[in-house]
Symmetry: C2
Subunit: 196 residues, 2 copies
């Protein structure tokens, strides 16, 4: 029923996370009825450009347009602290915070046997090769079962090195109401209570 | 903080209706971390293709890839009934229904003085030029203030012709619960009650 070029595009948009057919239709019809065509043409070339230009940093596996990413190259970063994250997205989240000044290492996933992801599928070899030059490694995988499993696995591997190994703190979200906290979080918040 | 090619693309996505910066980021990082690049390249070329190919039907102003759209060209459609809609999107909605077999006319908007849209900005001249060949015109603009105003305006213009002018029925949505109906709808449902 839709002209072919519209149908093709609806299919592309509906592959995006959280986008169903209805939403994809709304996006495409919005674009198809734009009077200004330039915006859509540059949208199209931006998609191609990103695909051509974005690679992974050879040192930390973070998304970048260069061989070595800006963070790894920077002389203003603390080169003795390394934060290990599961995903490039997490680096962007921490960078928005603007208070962490160390370097990163992106694992590109977490150990998840139910999905057939074992330690060999993650960027662990390259981590072990470079880790000796750091003083502290912060393991910043998610607080999920798989994130915890990966954290434990890394801790075991890293304990062979002369390093301080830390993990992100669990506790109450800032500004949150006690009555909405789940028991495990509340338990951690009491366990990790701090001098006030 | 994001590499330029990612930042550009986030900006493009965040122009889509209902997409904020966070969602746009999620879309782009999803695409940037895809292992298969082919899908994104064809997404890019589909965007360009649509922009190049989609035009408006010279007869009904509906989005199409030809000079005259499939519906206007079809010999299987009822050429005596014309449905006037405000937007190409509405045609797709009615076509999904598969029970309407007449033709369409797309106004490309509704009269809305608050946005500076007056009758001259709509495809009304071309409607008046072709309307004499029809027996019935169904005015299918939305039930909003602007849709009603446009419907009234068209009715006045069309009453010069020897035509049956109809308007979509107001009433309860099928499968709906009475207690959720607003008063105006309920009022219309009683007023337009039908033999059972």
């Amino acid at each position: 029923m839709y002209p072919k070029s519209i149908k093709d595009l609806i299919e592309d948009f509906s592959k995006l996370p959280g986008v169903g057919e209805k939403t994809a239709e709304r996006f495409v019809l919005f674009l198809a009825t734009q009077k200004e065509k330039d915006g859509i043409l540059s949208f199209s070339s931006h998609l191609k450009e990103m695909t051509d230009k974005i690679v992974k940093c050879e040192r930390c596996h973070m998304l970048t347009e260069d061989t070595i990413c800006d963070i790894c190259k920077s002389k203003e970063r603390d080169t003795e602290t390394l934060m290990v994250v599961s995903d490039s997205k997490d680096v962007f989240v921490f960078e928005k915070m603007k208070t962490y000044h160390g370097q990163y290492h992106v694992l590109d996933g977490v150990i998840d046997f139910s999905k057939g992801i074992s330690p060999e599928d993650l960027n662990i070899d390259s981590l072990l090769k470079k880790v000796a030059s750091y003083k502290e490694v912060i393991i910043a995988t998610n607080g999920t079962v798989e994130g915890e499993l990966t954290a434990k696995y890394l801790k075991a591997l890293l304990s062979d090195f002369n390093l301080s190994i830390t993990r992100l703190a669990y506790g109450l979200p800032v500004g949150s109401d006690l009555k909405y906290a789940d028991e495990l979080t509340l338990n951690k918040a009491v366990e990790n209570r701090q001098k006030y």
